[in-house]
Symmetry: C2
Subunit: 242 residues, 2 copies
């Protein structure tokens, strides 16, 4: 059951990505598009506001809506607050490159008070602890630690951890969608130990991203901490006022 305004948003996003509109070009007005898609203006506006937040169009009061120039780049972009790159490394990049994982460890342990608090669970709660090195085209680019509440996801097959999408597995397993991801980005340097795992020199800059993921029913199931090579990743952000 996909909402109509999501379908319309994706349809127009596709038009932009397929270059059916040129960069900077004015697209049809809200009233025209509402007529075309057979919805009211309110519904169409929901689509267009989303498209604006995702950085594909700019809405200018009194003028119209215009296709934004979209930045393409040589490095990998982790989109913030827009798009779906939040929904997992595999899902995001597997179309443009070969994604693989090296499972360092997968064990069950009890939550420390700190992690329990992040997961809104009791200290001592049984968790999966997973450490993976992730590779793009066979080059190691990041280390990711995940703590996953075993009360929410009891079993995690190692086949999922090798190459599959963990988030996709969880959505299938629970029958619920992922709705919240609250994260914090920090800059730091790789320690020798971590640099060795990635096969790079120590003292290389990194982007550290930590955060909690929740399902649509509010269940916090995953706390993760990833250490990303700063020469391989950038984070894009589109802020829109009001």
């Amino acid at each position: 059951m996909v909402a109509r305004y999501i379908e319309i948003k994706n349809s127009i996003k596709d038009d932009i990505l397929q270059k059916r509109y040129q960069v900077g070009e004015k697209i049809p007005s809200e009233r025209e598009l509402a007529l075309i898609y057979g919805v009211t203006r309110v519904t169409l506006q929901k689509s267009m506001h989303l498209l604006e937040q995702e950085g594909f169009i700019e809405r200018i009061h009194g003028k119209g809506m215009f296709v934004a120039r979209v930045i393409d780049d040589d490095v990998y972009m982790l989109n913030n607050g827009a798009g779906d790159s939040v929904l997992g490394f595999s899902r995001e990049f597997h179309h443009q490159a070969k994604i693989s994982s090296q499972l360092i460890t997968h064990q069950m342990l009890c939550a420390t008070p700190e992690i329990a608090q992040q997961l809104e669970a009791q200290p001592g709660q049984v968790l999966h602890y997973i450490r993976r090195v992730r590779l793009i085209d066979n080059t190691p680019v990041l280390i990711e630690d995940s703590w996953i509440n075993a009360a929410v996801i009891a079993d995690i097959p190692n086949t999922v951890l090798d190459g599959g999408s963990l988030y996709e597995y969880i959505e299938t397993y629970t029958g619920k969608k992922i709705k919240f991801y609250n994260s914090v980005i920090e800059g730091d340097l790789f320690t020798k130990e971590m640099a060795d795992m990635l096969g790079i020199a120590p003292g290389v800059p990194m982007l550290k991203v930590s955060g909690v993921t929740k399902l649509e029913d509010g269940t916090a199931f995953n706390y993760s901490l990833s250490y990303n090579r700063a020469d391989k990743f950038k984070i894009k952000n589109n802020w829109v006022g009001k």
Copy 2:
């Protein structure tokens, strides 16, 4: 002319910040709040969706709306995609600390092709080039380079660059609000030259943030590049599905 849904959003945000609701507590339903504020559900929902994007509440289908735990921290948070910290360093932090600036240079120059493209202007367009070191409680924490289109803002008094808010000045000067800020975050290390300007050791990690700022009529007026001490800043991000 402030929209009703913005007023309502701020009113409820204030209730949360003033602890009139406890963390995790359920707040009144949409229908109740719509009645209280004398608006329809559609209007109230706009308020609550904003509040959710800003990370203050979580909306759970079938259950209700709940106050999110808000992360307070010792370091300074640059909020992404939510809140207004995008709208300038001064405006964001002057309530919690003494903000000052050290003006390194302010000169007029002609746009290179690269910067002209960012500003959607012609190469050779006259620009302000401004380099400032910014301080929190007299500690230098970042270096910021700005290129501002002189065709949009002709005069920039040095009093504004010293301690005032540049963005506030621009909104007053042009009579328009800032609507877009598209930025990219990268991790890197401070060079010796930059480290010297901040009085720190070279090789310290930094968060580099670059981006273009536009007014509500779509005018790109500012391209900026800031080099932030990674031990002083974090960047927060709230992603909400759908």
